[in-house]
């Protein structure tokens, strides 16, 4: 594989890793606070739809982004009400949210655009344009580094850079601030937080809403940056892969970045090298496409060391038994 192809592959990996990364960090906030969320998928999807359709109708991608985030937060709120306020089963609530998104997006888009569950193509103004970093053009000539800077690092949409910036931000928030301390505590032992005079409910809702915001950005990225419009089921399991990445990363920001890049690379490989041959036998394209899912299982199987989730994760906090 020559250098250009490698750059191309990595470039594509970064694009495909971005939604995973955003979703993964979203999950990180929620699960660190003790709320499991398999509804990431649904939140991504709903946001992808709303950001695309609002971006189309207003012709302003930023409004689209806001709409996407808002819709995703509404779903996050729903999950919060179900699993925090009413102490429902967090898994079931997540499953419901995924279905709700899958159905709603198509039903609503049909009644808005009647394009068979799709939004119209977005014009330039309705999309996040790829931004060229300073000196990218000038430096392009420089061997090795030139192409790396020009083709790999430069020329992504603002959301990509945002996603990568959120990683250190999250780390700082988690380990250096009061909010982070309380967030981690509420995921480990809510009773301790409660007796310390902090409202468990408020902490958890905050976390769930942050999760909603990040999923919202992920969805907007899918429909207004990676592609030019919404199509049904466009999240294509990314929410679940993000969850696996989160477990892989043992709920830690920097590792989450690594995990997501890995999955992004896999996805890119899957679509770029469809008919690769290993030791003479050609690997079926279906295998390449299933690879991320297979790897997810392998990772969950704990072949990467045991991952201990936040202790209070998954259980509603009940004072009175």
């Amino acid at each position: 594989m020559d250098f250009a192809t490698l750059i191309q592959l990595l470039d594509s990996s970064i694009r495909l890793a971005t939604p995973l990364l955003l979703a993964c960090l979203a999950g990180l906030y929620s699960e660190r606070a003790g709320i499991f969320d398999i509804g990431l998928e649904g939140k991504i999807l709903i946001s992808a739809f709303f950001s695309a359709s609002i971006a189309f109708t207003t012709g302003n991608v930023w409004l689209g982004l806001l709409a996407g985030i808002a819709s995703s937060m509404v779903f996050a709120l729903l999950h919060g009400v179900a699993s925090i306020t009413f102490r429902g089963n967090q898994l079931i609530s997540g499953v419901a949210i995924n279905f709700l998104a899958a159905g709603m997006t198509v039903v609503v888009s049909d009644s808005w655009f009647s394009l068979g569950g799709r939004t119209p193509q977005l014009e330039t103004s309705g999309r996040f344009q790829n931004i060229t970093l300073p000196f990218a053009e000038q430096l392009q000539g420089v061997p090795i580094l030139g192409p790396i800077y020009h083709d790999l690092i430069s020329g992504h949409s603002i959301l990509v850079y945002a996603a990568f910036l959120i990683v250190p931000l999250t780390w700082w928030l988690l380990y250096r601030t009061r909010f982070g301390l309380r967030l981690r505590a509420v995921g480990e032992n809510p009773a301790a937080v409660d007796t310390a005079g902090i409202s468990v409910v408020r902490m958890r809702f905050t976390a769930v809403l942050i999760c909603g915001v990040l999923c919202g950005i992920a969805g907007a990225y899918l429909s207004t940056s990676l592609s030019a419009g919404f199509v049904r089921e466009m999240s294509a399991g990314r929410g679940f892969i993000a969850l696996a990445a989160l477990i892989f990363a043992k709920w830690r920001p920097w590792y989450a970045l690594m995990a997501c890049l890995l999955f992004g690379l896999l996805d890119a490989t899957g679509s770029l090298f469809q008919n690769i041959r290993l030791l003479g036998i050609s690997v079926p394209v279906q295998f390449m496409q299933a690879l991320p899912y297979i790897l997810t299982v392998v990772i969950l199987a704990g072949f990467v060391g045991k991952a201990i989730p936040p202790r209070a994760g998954g259980e509603p906090y009940v004072k009175e038994r």
Binding site: S114, G116, R118, S227, A228, R232
Partner: protein, 301 residues
């Protein structure tokens, strides 16, 4: 077919045909959009029971269901597009996409400066290979040592509807030097055309005339006049519809390439001349374009 109505391509063409007829005659028609294979039979029966006649089915994957359904409704006439069903009350319409693809292939070969062109197929099925193979032959005809990069989007019906992947594939092909990309991939094609414009290269649409989607970027569109076929089916009185297999080729104007104000300045007189010559030659039988589905292989790689 799967991929959703208004894919700006195949299904939309069928729909337009119906619309056109409805407007002209004021007649009314019912449609069912299918999400999953297994609903087909129910949908067909539903239409037949409702007394719809004729029932037009657009899409190869309906054939096997129709085989079972058709006999149950002898006095309903069925029209299937892209598929062959051998029944007395079924009219099977086949397009020779390889011929149309050949022409756009030539245009691609002529328009390409890098000498590298791309093809993005939808679902990996022989039908699409027929597009790809005809296209490849066309390219080679004008540029014997052109490089042709072929990718299929996927192997499930979802492949008709995955612009994201379509875009990624296109970027990949661009990175490998392609400067013209032919998308025969239903809804996925939209992602291809979009990316082509973003990357500043030329693209070729399919089925319907997609030139208007990205004026100045879409070189042309390989027309597949599904709309004509549907229109015919509706407009001819049911009892006069002749069943059996009908091939829509260049000769019948069933396939062709689109030329309009949107791509006028992309295509030179000289190109038009060459392509029309080839067209005539194919109709006359002087050039025979190999049909992939006949033997499942392609002479050119």
């Amino acid at each position: 077919d799967l991929g959703g109505k208004f894919d700006r391509s195949f299904n939309e063409a069928a729909f337009n045909g119906a619309e056109q007829w409805a407007e002209e005659t004021g007649g009314s028609y019912r449609e069912i959009e299918l999400q999953s294979d297994a609903q087909r039979e129910q949908a067909m029966r539903r239409l037949a029971e409702a007394g719809a006649n004729p029932v037009v089915m657009a899409g190869f994957s309906q054939a096997s269901s129709l085989e079972v359904v058709a006999p149950d409704y002898p006095d309903t006439t069925f029209v299937i597009i892209d598929g062959v069903v051998d029944a007395p009350n079924v009219r099977s319409v086949i397009f020779s996409e390889h011929e149309g693809s050949y022409l756009v292939g030539m245009l691609a070969g002529l328009a390409s400066e890098t000498g590298t062109v791309g093809f993005v197929g939808g679902m990996d099925i022989p039908l699409i290979s027929r597009f790809g193979c005809g296209y490849a032959q066309g390219v080679r005809a004008v540029n014997p040592d052109a490089v042709i990069i072929q990718n299929m989007t996927g192997t499930t019906p979802a492949a008709w509807n995955d612009p994201v992947r379509g875009g990624e594939l296109t970027r990949a092909q661009v990175a490998q030097g392609a400067d013209v990309v032919f998308a025969a991939a239903g809804g996925t094609g939209l992602g291809v055309l979009q990316t082509a414009e973003d990357e500043g290269i030329l693209s070729i649409g399919v089925d319907s005339n997609q030139n208007y989607l990205h004026p100045g970027s879409v070189l042309t569109s390989m027309l597949k006049r599904v709309d004509v076929a549907v229109y015919d089916a509706f407009s001819t009185p049911v009892d006069e519809i002749e069943t059996g297999i009908h091939i829509f080729g260049l000769a019948e104007d069933g396939v062709g390439y689109a030329l309009d104000e949107n791509n006028a300045d992309l295509i030179t007189e000289d190109m038009i001349a060459q392509v029309d010559a080839a067209r005539a030659a194919i109709i006359a039988g002087e050039i025979s374009v190999h049909n992939y589905t006949e033997d499942g292989m392609c002479p050119v790689e």
